[in-house]
C-alpha cells in the first residue's frame, strides 16, 4: 500500500504542477500512514533525486526516450505497471493537459475510481471523499471513490507546494515500452512565456481594449510582474488573440493568485473559468459591469488611462526605469 505520484515533464524539465502533485501525494501518504513514491517517465535534465524535498522517498524512473513525448497509451501502461509492481493504492496526477490525457485511461485500465480536478486532500474518515470543482467552478462536489485503487488528478494552482529537506532514492523501473501509435510531427511552443495553466499571475483583456493593436500595454504590464496573458472569448473569437488564451466556461479554467481583468464585462461564462482565482482585480469604465461583483479590487475607469499609469506605478515599485 502506497501513494504513487506521477511526475510530468516537458523539454527535459519537471513541471511546476508536478511539485504540487508531489506535495499533495506526500501529505496524503502521511494522512494514510503509508509511503509516498513517484514515477517519472522519459529522460530529464533536472536532478531527479532532489525531488525528495517534496516528501517522496522513492522515485521509479522509466528512463526511456520514447516517453519524452506524451503518448496517452504508453504513459498509461507504464504508470499502471509501476503502480501494480510497487503496490500503490492511490495514484496522484496533475489535472493538467497530460493528466487529462492519461488519468481517464488509467482509471479504465485499473478499474480505479477517478476524481478529476480535485481541489483538496481526501476526507478519509470512514471513506474516501474528494472535493472537486463542478458546473465550471460554480460549485463543488464531494466525490466518493468506491474502489480499492483510487486516482486523483489535482487542479493546477489549487494546492500550495511545500518543499523541505531530503532526497529520494531513484530506482530504474523495468517497464516494456511499445512503439507509439501517435507520431508527433511538429511542436509549436511560445517560448519564454509562462503557460497560462501554470501561471500564478494573469493579466487578461476583453473587448474593451478595442483591438489587437492595443495589447502592447497588456503585455508590458504582464511582463513587468511576470504574468501570463489571457483574454475573453469575444476577443479570441475576433482573432485578436490566440485561442489558447481564451478563458472561461468554454475556454481554459484557471486559478492564479492574481487575475487582473481589463475591459472585460464579467459575463457568467467568463467568470466560470476564472472565479477560483485568489485575488481578482477589475478595470472597467462601466461601474455596472458585472465583474465588479466578483472582484476583490477594482478601478472604475478607462483602461487606456489606467493601465499606462499602472505600468508606471509597478515600475516604481520594482525599481525599473
Amino acid at each position: 500500500m502506497s501513494v504513487l505520484i506521477f511526475i510530468d515533464s516537458a523539454d527535459g524539465h519537471v513541471k511546476k504542477s508536478s511539485f504540487e502533485a508531489l506535495t499533495y501525494g506526500a501529505q496524503l501518504a502521511k494522512q494514510l500512514g503509508t509511503a509516498a513514491e513517484a514515477v517519472l517517465l522519459g529522460t530529464v535534465a533536472d536532478d531527479v533525486a532532489a525531488l525528495g524535498k517534496y516528501g517522496v522517498t522513492k522515485i521509479h524512473h522509466v528512463a526511456n526516450e520514447t516517453l519524452n513525448h506524451v503518448d496517452a497509451q504508453l504513459y498509461t501502461k507504464a504508470i499502471a505497471d509501476v503502480a501494480t509492481a510497487s503496490g500503490a493504492t492511490v495514484i496522484v496526477l496533475s489535472h493538467n493537459l497530460t493528466g487529462k490525457a492519461v488519468a481517464p485511461r488509467l482509471s479504465a485500465r485499473l478499474k480505479a475510481g477517478l476524481v478529476a480536478g480535485a481541489v483538496g486532500l481526501p476526507n478519509t474518515a470512514g471513506g474516501f471523499v474528494v472535493k472537486k470543482g463542478v458546473f465550471s467552478s460554480k460549485a463543488f462536489a464531494h466525490m466518493n471513490v468506491n474502489t480499492a485503487m483510487k486516482i486523483i488528478s489535482i487542479s493546477p494552482n489549487s494546492f500550495q507546494t511545500v518543499a523541505g529537506e531530503g532526497t529520494a532514492e531513484v530506482v530504474a523501473a523495468q517497464v516494456t515500452v511499445d512503439s507509439p501509435k501517435v507520431k508527433i510531427t511538429a511542436t509549436n511552443k511560445v517560448t519564454g512565456q509562462v503557460p497560462l495553466s501554470e501561471a500564478e499571475l494573469v493579466v487578461s483583456g476583453g473587448r474593451g481594449l478595442k483591438g489587437p493593436e492595443n495589447w502592447g500595454m497588456v503585455e508590458e504590464l504582464a511582463g513587468l510582474i511576470g504574468a501570463a496573458t489571457a483574454c475573453s472569448r469575444a476577443v479570441a473569437d475576433a482573432h485578436w488573440r490566440p485561442h489558447h488564451e481564451h478563458v472561461g466556461q468554454t475556454g481554459g479554467s484557471i486559478a492564479p493568485n492574481l487575475y487582473l481583468a481589463i475591459g472585460i464585462s464579467g459575463a457568467i461564462q467568463h467568470l466560470a473559468g476564472v472565479n477560483r482565482s485568489k485575488v481578482i482585480v477589475v478595470i472597467n469604465k462601466d461601474p455596472e459591469a458585472p465583474f465588479f461583483k466578483a472582484a476583490d479590487y477594482g478601478i472604475v475607469g478607462d483602461a487606456f488611462d489606467v493601465v499606462p499609469k499602472m505600468i508606471a506605478e509597478v515600475k516604481k515599485l520594482k525599481g525599473v526605469a
Binding site: 496517452a72 509562462v194 457568467i268 477594482g298
Partner: protein, 247 residues
Amino acid sequence: MKILVCISKTPDTTAKIAFADNNTKFVQEGVQWIINPYDEWYALVRAIELKEKDPSTIIHLITVGAADTEPIIRKALALGGDEAIRVNADSHDSFYIASQIAEIAKQGGYDLIFTGKETIDYNGSSIGGMVAELLDQPYVSLATKFELNGTTATINREIEGGEETCEVNVPVVVSCQKGMAEQRIPNMKGIMGARTKPLKVAEPVAVDALTSVASFELPPAKAGVKLVDAENVGELVRLLHEEAKVI
C-alpha cells in the same frame, strides 16, 4: 469513414446552480438544457464538415441518458448526423458512461470517435480517454485541428504553452475543443429532417460505477470589491503589493 460523436446534455451556461435534499441533488426546476457546447460546436460540427467533404462518411451520435435527453439529441441531429443511439440509462459516473459508449462502439466498428473536451457540468475531461482505453485505441486529447487523409489523421493538440501536430492511423478517439470548427446554427431543413432520422434506443450493459457524488457545495460569496479611484492608481498597486501580496 464511420464516425461516432458523443453528445451530452448539460445545463445552459447561465443556469442557476442550486442544490436540494441536504445538498445532494442538483435543482433542475427552471433549468434550460443544451447540448454540451464542446460536443456541439467542435466535435459534431467537425464531423459534419468531414461528411461534407466526403459524402460517403457516416455519422452516428450517441448519448447515455434517460428519455428526457431525446430533445437534445434531436437538436444535435438537426445540425447533422445520420442517426442517433440513446443508451437508456441514468448517468452514474464517467466510467459507467464510457463503458456504455465503448460497448456501442465495439458493435459499430467506428473509425473515429469524437467527444467534447469536457462537459460543462462535471468537468471531468474523462470520457474520451476511458473509451479509448476500453477499446485499446490511441487517444488524442484536447485537439484544436483535425484533418483526414485516407486513413491517416493529422491532429493538432494543445500542450502547455503551445500546440503539437501529430499523425495517427484510424481508429482513434479524439477530444475536441476550440479551433476544431466554428459554431453553426441549425436551419429549418435540418430541424425538419431531424424529426425522421432514426433514433435507436439501446439498453445499458451492467457496469459498476467507480465513484459517486456524496454532496455538493456552493463556493462562499465574495466579501465585496474594494474600489480605488482612477486618479489614484498608485494606491491599487500598493494594495496589491502590501495587502493582497500578489505583486
